[in-house]
């Protein structure tokens, strides 16, 4: 038996305790041993002795990681400092949530969204095929929802405005409702967009939500040139989008059928009257056909009038920036020369439309690599702190793609009522350290100037009060 035996707790990923059988702790009669438990942490690693084999650093890559005899040495896996155990293995009552203090909030349902509910915190109904679960969320929002016990948000004035616009848009072409949430960093644009998505999903709209528009242009998925469309196709991204779209909207898509014949490359065309789920299945069978199927699917959805369609894009400004993709001559590929951004830009600019529906976008200031370009800024009438006179070059193509967009500004400052609802969420979840009284609330509200992100992250979660 080896001198050290490691005990791994059932279901955990890493060893937490070590059974030590070193002679300093135990008697010579090893058969009836009471073994001592020594907790090992990464900073208390045992000192290396002569017998230990140390991997070579190597010179210019030669012999790196090999022992004296040339055999590769296995690196001992480092124990992380705070590796979480899976929830299934937390059996102790200490880890069970207190049912009395569980966060109880009204559900985010369409009938609750009125002007009277402004300043009310509501919990999202996360069904099995919820849009937020299947399509994903922006990173900052994902982190917040992981910290909170339940995904929730506060109904604001801009939420009600967006809901009213969506109610009007449900009977009109998407050409007339192309809205972009604008505002200062951290004011709640992504949350407003998510609230719009959840509202539409609960109202039986067909929803296509792109939570991280930056992933379309930051060279993280495969791309290939297509001579027919004269653009660079993104088969992997199109494939994933089709998969997620199908899982979110399957029940509605089963009742919809193709209105026109859908031709595909190198295979038989999809005939008229085919359920749209079968059209998507054709794209899921082979990744190379996915971009064509995605484009055809949106075209068919644009022609039908049974369900309104919402196209929601976060990081909207990334569609108007130069992408990180490079062509074979090492020049940057423009975003409108990539298949998926081009498709989204076509619907955002109104050159392609849905018979019933809307296009919603939300700007993001998180990434400095993809900042708001001048053409989009001017289209949305957002004031610029730099000089942008007539001598600054503007792309006519981006101006064409940004025509007709309407800005829906999210207020920089939350109202006291909205901030109080937000404060209550975090207070009830046990995140606020200190006495949660009016004094604490007003001081955090004043420190953050009512900015939602500053209020939560710099105010509530970063409090030093004890």
């Amino acid at each position: 038996m080896s001198p050290l035996t490691t005990l791994t707790l059932a279901g955990s990923r890493a060893p937490y305790v070590v059974l030590s059988k070193s002679s300093s702790f135990l008697s010579t009669n090893t058969s009836t041993l009471p073994v001592t438990l020594t907790q090992r942490r990464h900073y208390a690693a045992p000192a290396r002795g002569k017998g230990d084999v140390v991997a070579r650093q190597g010179f210019k890559g030669k012999g790196k990681g090999q022992g004296p005899d040339g055999v590769p040495v296995k690196r001992e896996k480092k124990l992380g400092a705070f590796l979480p155990l899976p929830a299934a293995s937390l059996h102790h009552s200490l880890f069970k949530t207190d049912p009395l203090n569980e966060l109880k909030l009204p559900l985010y349902r369409p009938e609750h969204l009125t002007t009277h509910s402004i300043g009310t915190a509501m919990q999202f109904v996360m069904s099995k095929n919820d849009a937020a679960l299947k399509f994903g969320l922006p990173k900052s929002m994902l982190l917040e929802f992981r910290i909170l016990s339940k995904p929730c948000s506060v109904v604001r004035d801009v939420t009600v405005k967006a809901v009213d616009k969506l109610d009007e848009a449900s009977q009109k072409s998407s050409f007339e409702t192309r809205v972009v949430f604008t505002g200062s960093p951290g004011c709640g644009k992504s949350f407003a967009l998510l609230q719009s998505v959840e509202y539409c999903a609960s109202r039986d709209w067909i929803v296509l939500y792109v939570p991280r528009g930056i992933n379309l242009v930051n060279s993280t998925s495969s791309y290939t040139y297509d001579l027919r469309t004269q653009t660079y196709l993104q088969p992997a991204f199109s494939f994933q989008t089709l998969q997620r779209f199908l899982s979110v909207n399957q029940d509605k898509l089963q009742s919809l059928k193709t209105i026109t014949e859908v031709p595909l490359e190198r295979r038989a065309p999809i005939p008229v009257g085919t359920p749209l789920t079968d059209l998507i299945a054709a794209g899921l069978r082979e990744q190379s056909v996915a971009p064509t199927v995605l484009s055809a699917l949106l075209e068919q959805l644009g022609k039908q009038e049974a369900y309104p369609v919402l196209l929601a894009i976060d990081d909207f400004q990334a569609l108007y920036c130069q992408s990180r993709y490079r062509d074979p001559h090492y020049a940057h590929i423009k975003s409108y020369h990539l298949s998926v951004p081009r498709l989204l830009l076509d619907y955002a600019s109104g050159s392609k439309t849905f018979a019933r529906g809307a296009v919603f976008g939300a700007l993001s200031t998180c990434s400095t690599d993809f900042q708001l370009p001048l053409e989009l800024r001017e289209a949305l009438a957002i004031p610029h702190d730099r000089s942008s006179g007539p001598y600054v070059k503007r792309s006519s193509i981006l101006q064409w793609y940004s025509r007709g967009l309407q800005a829906l500004p999210v207020p920089d400052q939350m109202s006291v009522q909205e901030a109080a609802a937000l404060f209550e969420i975090w207070m009830k979840d046990g995140a606020f350290v200190g006495l949660p009284n009016d004094d604490a609330f007003m001081s955090k509200y004043a420190e953050s100037s009512g900015n939602a992100r500053q209020f939560v992250w710099k105010g509530l979660l970063a409090s030093l009060a004890s």
Partner: protein, 181 residues
């Protein structure tokens, strides 16, 4: 594990950085090679398709004789693509005049004499044995003409004016006439 010209590229590494295992390919050249083969920045070596691997091997086996990449046309906003069922031959015939005219490199402008991003290093790329041979030949030439550089290589001492009173151990270990032999 992917083998390219006898060099093992680890599967888990990003292709863009795995190519730097090849002698003569640094980070910038590797990025250019990835762009030429349409490999995105976060592609792992294990995710490379067989076509991409064979293109990579074909290019690296002889970079100077690799065919020039044509400049393909890119769609304007109002471009309506033909139907997907259109035969590829028909599409190629239609756009042939667009591709042919762009095969040559763009003419250098007066304002920017170099193309954006600098000259393309790939046509003149030398790797592995070719590069080692070139280095050996350069050192041998320096020795043949009796230059200071040649003498220092022959003596196994630093060549570029470094201190020898201390710290010349790398030069003593590596500098010689038949370096990389």
């Amino acid at each position: 594990m992917v083998h390219v010209l006898g060099i093992q590229l680890p599967d888990r590494e990003l292709a863009r950085y795995a190519l730097t295992h090849i002698y003569g390919v640094g980070h910038k050249t590797a990025h250019r090679i990835c762009a030429r083969l349409l490999i995105h920045d976060t592609c792992r070596v294990a995710d490379l398709s067989p076509g991409q691997i064979s293109s990579l091997a074909a290019f690296l086996s002889s970079p100077s004789t690799a065919p020039a990449v044509p400049r393909f046309p890119l769609a304007l906003p109002r471009f309506q693509p033909p139907s997907p069922s259109t035969p590829m031959r028909e599409i190629q015939t239609k756009v042939a005049h667009l591709i042919k005219g762009r095969n040559a490199a763009p003419p250098p402008s007066k304002v920017h004499p170099l193309p954006r991003g600098g000259r393309d290093p790939l046509p003149s790329l030398k790797i592995e044995t070719d590069l080692r041979r070139e280095v050996r030949e350069n050192i041998a030439h320096q020795r043949m003409i009796g230059s200071y550089v040649g003498k220092r290589h022959a003596m196994g001492l630093p060549v570029r004016g470094q201190n020898t009173q201390s710290n010349a151990s790398t030069a003593r270990k590596l500098n010689r006439i038949d370096r990389f032999g």
